[in-house]
């Protein structure tokens, strides 16, 4: 490769708010369910129906804007974005255009120890569309026998967060989305479930020769429904664009579809691209006036955000910064950590256990903490059993994995599988005597001053007891017997 290329990525993230009711009507917000059961004249766009703003949604977008350190506009207005599509019942989406709710924020991310600042261009409020369901031929529109529409999703409040084109690698893009998701979870404003579509991410991607300030021609990459796919799709699209440019061809401004099944990217035909949405101010809604008082109120109700929480862990609990960052990287994990501390008041031990064991189990299974059978109280009990010598630390790790998988208590698992630690000196003394007798060479080495050989003897005892022997007791007894005879 003769030339260095710099990717430039901007993300557009749509967040479905988990408000009680929809953005402009009283219908319940929810996922799934019998199609078209959560609809009314407003969200099904019957003639004469009018939108009424959901205040709870405005509280939520207020929290989001503040957490991204945006400037909230004193006065923002809603626009109609006009286009025809069957899942868009009014023929326009109520959205925001040149006067969005908030602008100019940032959310900085750290990847491999390096900090990357990501500017936020705007945060605005809009509404979701219904969902087209294509019957036959694998759910794609091509080859479908017929299409049905479910308007349960129509009108669910959506917040759109748009970053500046300030991200230069798929890894940073992924880290940003992850941090944004975590922040939203902290704020408790959305389920943030990418598979169910309550968190959706599109990306504007271009590449340019390194050092050039002018932006290259961008494409809009769509349909990445997980963090992994976002990173993969961006990588593929950047490769595609570089290959085009290096072959002397041009990047065409168009939509590019990411194929989840194959991990490939496919440019769409650009015929439909030149949309003219004919935005104009929504006459059915008054401008949204945001007072200082409102901002103060929202700020006072903001939960503790990851950065603040992490700082607290360092200063109040004495955790290393690394531990604090890892634990607060997910609200679920941090909540679990703090709940465990209620029952077992040693922050560093709990931190070590969660970072080592719990994250290990989560990574291996690919599941969320909430899907695990483990409870904070159960974790604390296990730690207490280890302290009390009822179970060894190593066995404890197996017990923990088992607790996660089955939801059983530590005591129950230890009991059922006979994993109780052997601390009975009589039983161990006989075993140790046998081991010493069977390994005269090592005994000589130890007595000759080679301390490390002690580990060999411990290992032999552990092997015979399947790890259940209390290592401290074994150590003590071994030293005594090796010295004595």
């Amino acid at each position: 490769m003769s030339q260095q290329w710099e990717p430039v990525i901007g993300l557009e993230i749509h967040v479905e708010l988990s408000t009680k009711s929809k953005m402009f009507c009283g219908c319940e917000v929810g996922f799934g369910g019998e199609p078209n059961t959560r609809t009314c004249p407003v969200c099904a766009a019957h003639p004469g129906a009018l939108p009424v703003m959901n205040r709870e949604a405005i509280n939520s977008i207020g929290k989001i804007a503040l957490s991204l350190e945006c400037e909230i506009a004193e006065r923002s207005i809603f626009h109609r974005k006009n286009y025809f599509y069957p899942d868009l019942p009014k023929g326009y989406q109520i959205s925001q255009y040149d006067l969005p709710f908030a602008v100019e924020g940032h959310l900085d991310v750290t990847v491999d120890g390096k900090m990357y600042p990501v500017g936020i261009e705007r945060v605005h409020q809009e509404e979701d569309t219904g969902k087209n369901i294509h019957a036959g031929e694998g759910g794609r529109i091509a080859g479908a026998l017929y299409s049905l529409i479910d308007f349960n999703r129509s009108g669910i409040p959506l917040v759109e967060v748009v970053t500046k084109p300030a991200i230069h690698s798929p890894q940073v893009a992924r880290a940003f989305l992850n941090k944004l998701k975590n922040t939203l979870k902290y704020l408790d404003v959305s389920d943030c479930n990418m598979e169910e579509g309550s968190l959706r991410c599109d990306a504007n991607v271009s590449v340019r020769p390194a050092g050039q300030t002018e932006l290259g021609v961008k494409t809009e990459l769509k349909n990445m429904n997980s963090f992994k796919h976002l990173e993969k799709g961006l990588t593929k699209e950047i490769e595609r664009q570089i290959a085009l440019l290096e072959a002397g061809e041009k990047v065409v401004q168009q939509t590019v579809h990411y194929e989840v099944a194959t991990g490939e990217v496919h440019p769409m035909r650009s015929k439909e691209y030149a949309h003219d949405y004919r935005y104009f101010p929504e006459p059915d809604l008054a401008p949204l006036e945001i007072s200082e008082e409102f901002i103060r109120k929202v700020r006072s109700r903001m939960p503790e955000l990851p950065s603040m929480r992490s700082e607290r862990y360092v200063h109040e609990l004495g955790l290393p910064e690394y531990d604090a960052d890892v634990l607060t990287s997910s609200r679920d994990l941090a909540d679990f950590f703090e709940e465990t501390l209620v029952f077992y008041n040693d922050a560093k031990t709990v931190s070590n256990w969660l970072m080592g064991e719990l994250l290990g189990v989560l990574n291996a299974s690919g599941k969320e903490l909430g899907e695990m059978g483990i409870s904070a109280e159960g974790t604390a009990q296990l730690l207490k059993m280890i302290d009390a010598g009822q179970v060894s630390k190593n066995i404890g790790k197996e017990v923990f994995a088992n607790m996660c998988a089955t939801g059983k208590s530590a005591a129950q698992i230890v009991e059922e599988q006979g994993l109780t630690q052997i601390s009975d000196t009589g039983e161990l003394e006989a075993m140790i005597a046998a081991v010493i007798a069977a390994n005269p060479v090592q005994v000589e080495q130890f007595r000759g001053g080679k301390e490390q050989v002690l580990g060999f003897f411990v290992g032999q005892v552990m092997k015979q007891t399947q790890g259940r022997a209390n290592p401290q007791v074994v150590n003590e007894l071994l030293r005594k017997q090796l010295a004595g005879s």
């Binding site: 004469g48 004919r278 104009f280 006459p283």
Partner: protein, 487 residues
């Protein structure tokens, strides 16, 4: 026979009093109106749907329990959603559409005890000035069946004039209550924007549309308004009426400063209309009004601005008629685009298509600033003009329309001439102000309307002045020939 004639000539407030006193029953009143509909509506075609059985049932119930508007037989413009009753907007698009809910304004009247006679004809989606744009045939003027009743609320105005309803609901976007009221010799009030809920009013131009009464006299307009106003949680643009609505007293116009809007008299007013108007002004003066010349310097741009802004809003408001969820769907379409195209081609009439295209064009990228943006600026200038004029006068007046009712077919070939029919009423909608039209006299046997305009939310004062004008002009019975014929 004479009993029936009396019933048909009663105003709503008179009928209300007689019902309260037990002199007349709601059933008798309703029967008289249904009989008149039976007799004349084949000719007039004021109604798209007569809900005879429902009306009989409701009036029967009214006999035994009394709301404040108990038993008053009411016609409802077919642009207002009525649960379980077809609501077509006089369009093929909604020919078989039955709404799942009732418009707030209709529900409020129903809660007050009205009897629903049926749904009245109109220009399709309220776009027009003659009711000739109805997909189901034009309505005819009860004063001369060869002539139009005006529009778009032509069915409602004709129904009241023909004795086919004691009063009616209309809607007014650029003059659609006042101009047909003028053509049919009845009273029509377009309230201040925001005072009557638009929830359930099928939207034409959302920032202009208002629902209002079409009645036999000014007191009736006030009576109905008392039950129409009020903030509706379902309409974010509605507000609580700051002063409420008072029933006007029988008073003269002493001390009322009335400004005659010069620009609205400038040209194009038919001599016959001008003569009636000038005579009316003299009578107002004789009744104590202080008459002066008022000016709305930017009103010459009102029509142009209106025909950018209203179609722009309409182009979005009518996008929901796509054949997907309800209403007409063209058969045999290939693919979604084709379905939209065929459905909208079959479902909409020429005028509706014309305005959707106008609005779409005005909002298109590259044209927005030159058209929509510019028109919004004009709107602001006109708002300011009215504020200035209304700081000098209590009430502004003009003829309601430049002509009397014209012949069917006379203007259908020339949309621009048709648009000019609303030249005196449109500025009022741009400013969101209340305007009322009341009968001022007759030119060649056809009614002429006087338009009176007041500041925002001044309905009580405006209707009081209109009542003063009504007394001053003193036409006696304004009953059309179709009512008088029955004597």
């Amino acid at each position: 026979m004479s009993q029936e004639r009396n019933l048909l000539e009663l105003t709503a407030h008179e009928a209300h009093d007689l019902i309260q006193q037990g002199e007349v029953t709601a059933s008798e009143l309703t029967a008289a109106y249904l009989d008149q509909i039976e007799r004349y509506d084949n000719d007039v075609n004021a109604y798209l749907l007569v809900t005879r059985e429902r009306a009989q049932e409701e009036s029967g119930r009214s006999d035994s329990n009394g709301g404040p508007l108990n038993g008053l037989p009411t016609a409802i413009k077919d642009v207002l959603c009525t649960r379980g009753i077809a609501t077509t907007c006089a369009s093929r698009m909604l020919e078989n559409y039955v709404p799942p809910y009732t418009a707030t304004c209709v529900r409020r009247l129903q809660d007050a005890g009205i009897v629903t006679l049926g749904k009245t004809n109109m220009d399709e989606f309220a776009m027009g000035s003659s009711t000739e744009n109805s997909a189901f045939g034009p309505t005819r003027n009860p004063w001369d069946l060869e002539r139009v009743p005006g529009g778009s609320s032509g069915g409602s105005a004709a129904a009241v004039a023909a004795g086919e309803a004691i009063w009616a609901l209309g809607s007014d976007t650029g003059g659609s209550i006042r101009q047909p009221a003028a053509f049919c010799g009845v009273v029509g009030l377009k309230p201040t924007y925001g005072s009557v809920s638009r929830y359930g009013l099928v939207a034409f131009a959302s920032s202009f549309d208002q629902v209002g009464p079409i009645t036999k006299d000014v007191k009736d307009a006030a009576l109905m308004m008392q039950h129409l106003v009020g903030k509706d949680p379902c309409d974010s643009t509605s507000v609580e009426h700051p002063s409420g609505i008072a029933i006007p007293a029988d008073r003269d116009l002493s001390g009322v400063r009335i400004g005659v809007v010069q620009e609205l008299m400038a040209g194009g007013i038919e001599p016959g209309v001008m003569e009636v108007f000038t005579n009316a002004v003299k009578k107002l003066e004789a009744a104590g009004a202080e008459i002066g010349e008022a000016s709305l310097p930017h009103s010459e741009y009102a029509l142009a601005a209106y025909y950018i802004l209203a179609p722009a809003e309409a182009s979005a408001n009518l996008a929901r008629f796509d054949g997907v969820r309800y209403g007409l769907r063209a058969k045999g379409a290939e693919g979604i685009s084709d379905m939209y195209e065929q459905t909208r081609n079959l479902g909409f009439g020429d005028e509706v298509k014309r305005r959707i295209m106008l609005g779409t064009y005005a909002l298109s990228s590259g044209y927005y600033d030159a058209y929509y943006g510019q028109a919004q600026k004009v709107r602001t200038l006109i708002v300011n003009d009215f504020a200035q004029a209304l700081s000098e006068f209590d009430i502004l007046i003009s003829p309601t329309a430049p002509t009397t009712a014209f012949k069917l077919g006379e203007k259908t070939g020339d949309p621009l001439t048709m648009y000019l029919s609303d030249i005196c009423t449109i500025p009022v909608n741009l400013a969101g102000l209340p305007g009322v039209s009341l009968p001022a006299g007759y030119a060649d046997g056809l009614p002429v309307g006087l338009q009176m305009i007041g500041p925002a939310f001044s309905e009580s004062a405006l209707l009081q002045a209109a009542r003063g004008a009504e007394i001053a002009i003193s036409l006696g019975s304004t009953a059309s020939p179709l009512i008088r014929e029955r004597s």
